[in-house]
């Protein structure tokens, strides 16, 4: 699989001799199942059935707790003692659960069987189960599978595995087209679509699509842009279909968005004049929005605990556009190739860390006493109680933050904990 289990054995530095601290020890990052919390809202006719334990169900429920306004399009098939007795039995049980589910939710067109640690360890063959169920439920429901297990994936890598599972389903084509990959909020997607279309780039498709049956076609003349930095497996799968990646930084902040759009424009042979014409106004608006927030953030020292793999692009945005000083940029996995453009933009000598040894990292954080610490939900309140201002990182994947119109929103997410401290007199 990806990421954690396949670390490229490169040296301890990247780019311009940037030091990378590689650590092993206790981690405090959620597993890939967590990405179901946003994916199930994104693909509207898909359903995610985790095949796992009560722990998996509890994780989803706890992570989703604040997000759910309607009945979610996810559930867990909880493995019980009697399923562990014999595997043939477990397969029958799974079929029964799926049938109950499909009867209850007839609008489902695409069902993901999502593997977990327990299903991996007992070697429950979800590929075979998906093929069997697909055949049985055809043509109403297509059944695919991927793993979101915590022994193989962290947090956002669940989305990577899900998208990689979709790639073989994409029809083949030899037409030229642009594909944007990585789940984006609809409002962001529409803004990107407007800008790219105005530039004359197209046909344009997004992966994941809003509806499963709108899956784009792919082939040797497909070029693609990454909207998210954690998509190693999906990229490999697309490249295996002949598609080629357009290297670019990520569309965070005014600068990031411009560089991202420009990479596409250049691949389409669009001149700088036309590019300025289309993007100048929105970029100016974004920069003006950032100016107001820059006052509060400039010079503030920020420390990232590893979480979403968005840490490097975020550190680039915060340092270059808001004048913040990254003390440590921790990431669960540093994808050197996909982050090459980002790393080149980071201030020289920015300390990076990959993997985690939680207690040692907490020691470093306490010693550095950053002005703002970006961390997961488990650490935020304890660090606040120690007097450190925090930004919980999970909000960064649940909130529209990409593109020009969201640049100021993104900056505000980091300013708010500080502004709040300025205000409070208790």
């Amino acid at each position: 699989m990806s990421g954690a289990s396949a670390l490229p054995g490169g040296p301890g530095t990247v780019g311009a001799a940037m030091p990378v601290l590689r650590e092993r020890g206790q981690r405090a990052v959620f597993c890939g199942l967590t990405s179901i919390v946003w994916l199930h809202r994104k693909v509207q006719d898909a359903f995610f059935l985790v095949v796992g334990s009560r722990t998996c169900a509890h994780l989803l429920q706890s992570a989703a707790g604040v997000m759910i306004f309607a009945e979610p399009r996810f559930a867990t098939a909880i493995i019980e003692e009697r399923d562990l007795a014999g595997l043939a039995d477990a397969n029958e049980e799974l079929d029964r659960v799926v049938e109950r589910l499909v009867a209850r939710r007839p609008e489902i067109r695409l069902l993901f069987l999502v593997g977990s640690c327990p299903s991996e360890v007992i070697k429950l063959d979800l590929a075979r189960a998906a093929a069997r169920l697909s055949q049985r439920l055809s043509p109403a429901v297509r059944v695919l599978h991927y793993s979101g297990s915590g022994i193989e994936t962290t947090f956002t890598q669940g989305e990577d595995a899900c998208l990689a599972a979709l790639v073989p389903e994409m029809p083949a084509t030899t037409d030229r087209s642009l594909l944007v990959i990585g789940a984006l909020a609809e409002v962001v997607e529409d803004q990107m679509r407007r800008l790219l279309t105005a530039l004359g780039i197209g046909p344009l498709h997004f992966l994941p699509p809003r509806r499963a049956q709108d899956l784009a076609a792919v082939g040797p003349n497909t070029r693609f842009l990454l909207a998210q930095p954690f998509l190693g497996d999906a990229v490999r799968a697309l490249e295996a279909r002949g598609a080629r990646r357009i290297p670019a930084p990520f569309p965070l902040g005014a600068e990031g968005t411009t560089l991202w759009l420009r990479a596409a424009a250049e691949a389409w042979g669009i001149g700088p004049a036309r590019f300025r014409e289309v993007t100048a106004m929105a970029e100016r608006r974004a920069r003006e929005g950032l100016l107001r927030i820059r006052d509060r953030l400039a010079g503030q020292r920020v420390f990232f605990f590893p979480d979403s793999q968005l840490e490097v692009p975020l550190a680039r945005f915060l340092s270059r556009e808001l004048g913040m000083v990254p003390l440590e940029v921790g990431t669960p996995y540093l994808h050197r190739e996909h982050l090459a453009e980002e790393l080149a933009l980071l201030p020289a000598g920015t300390p990076l860390s990959e993997g985690q040894h939680l207690e040692r990292q907490l020691d470093r954080c306490r010693a550095a006493r950053p002005d703002l610490t970006v961390c997961g939900l488990g650490l935020a309140n304890p660090l606040e109680a120690e007097g450190l201002a925090t930004k919980w990182s999970i909000e960064l994947v649940f909130t529209p933050i990409q593109g020009y119109e969201q640049a100021a929103d993104l900056a505000s997410l980091f300013a708010r904990p500080l502004v709040r401290r300025d205000r409070l007199a208790v």
């Binding site: 990052v29 959620f30 597993c31 009560r54 169900a57 640690c117 297990s149 022994i151 207690e359 505000s412």
Partner: protein, 504 residues
Amino acid sequence: MRLAVWTYEGPPHIGAMRVATAMQGVHYVLHAPQGDTYADLLFTMIERRGERPPVTYTTFEARDLGGDTAALLRAALHEACERHQPQVLLVGASCTAELIQDDPGGLARRMGLPVPVIPLELPAYQRRENWGAAETFYQLVRACAGPPGPRPPRPAGAPPRCNLLGPTALGFRHRDDLLEVRALLAGLGIAVNVVAPLGATPADLARLPEADFNVVLYPEVAEPAARWLERSFGQPALRVVPIGVGATQDFLAEAARLAGLPPPAPAAAASRLPWYSRSVDSTYLTGKRVFLFGDATHAIAAARVATEELGFEVVGLGSYSREFAREVRAAAAQYGVEPLVTDDYLEVEARIAELQPELILGTQMERHIAKRLGIPCTVISAPVHVQDFPARHSPQMGHEGANVLFDSWVHPLMMGLEEHLLAMFREDTEFNDAAPPSHLGHAAAAPPPPDLAAWGAEAERELQKVPFFVRGKARRNTERFARERGIVTITVETLYDAKAHFAR
């Protein structure tokens, strides 16, 4: 295999965490993959604890599985002892580690660690959270309370003493209940010897046998430990849970009996519930059809309060506490309803839809169901949500607890007179079926001012993508922005210009 949309209880190691986190000087080494660290947020976010739970996760990965997960475990055990210096170490496995069979408890024992090790066997594919909490508490008590034997005699002149057993971290109103129960006992002249697990150290557990009796405040957690203490030290258990006016009286009478004190005189007007319930405005509460669901203790206690103290009619009673199925069935028989013992959320939903109660007293899960079905609902039991840890004192037990029950159960219902007006003037636009009770606030539907700019179709579509809870504000701001600039048609550009303008 069981299809679960929501679950009422987490896996059993979450129960163990609730006990470990409640106590002082206890650390828990959990053999588990990284994703299981989500459990920390239950304590730091939902309960707003300012400390991480005292748990070290080994966080093994797939690449460790072929190799040596046991080595990882040994390293984690050493590090946990060194860094956290616990007085007692709990060692166990989560669901995944149970499958790889490293035997963490046995391994820890053989390592000769500088601290007593309590291995926890919590079968993750059979048992659930409350069972795990009860088993962990029982193991801790057994390990710390010393060998069974006669109780030490009470020092001459000392007041009778009891232990309060069951409150944990992440417990539904445990913090506030404790204060009330302490006050009830103080009123009788009974001293509290040890409260456990909440706030107790292993040394406190060693003092448990000194008490005259045990109060089983939360049977889901405390029952096995209380039974063992009864057997080992001849300590009787007080099993009345003081939720509601009647149960509080019974609790006081039983406490006095076990302490060898004369029966207490019924306290006049200790709670406002009796008079509030008799006052005329409450007549509209008569016979309200109520559905109850929760852990067994809270659901059964609520049934008594609902019938005897508020005059409701119980139309359904259920619990997810499989371990207390017998008690739930007995209570259901008493109220003449079909018991529902299940942890299948879909089954509970179906039962509620079928019964169409006028009020649901349930958990956060039933709150979801109630919202969908448009039925008033109050939460009376775990599983907990951040709202279940209010800043104010809000107990369920004792006299003040009874006041809280009255307020919180009656609040979601229509006020008495309002209900009659609603029936009389059905045609009134403010009184249509969709109108919420006035005290819960109105969705204002004022006509738009005449000089409004018109929304272009694309801008209107764009606006629909704004999350619903801020959409109204986005609409108003954009319109104001357009009006101030004399813009006639709102475009997508106007929308974002306005957004940029109002952003701070």
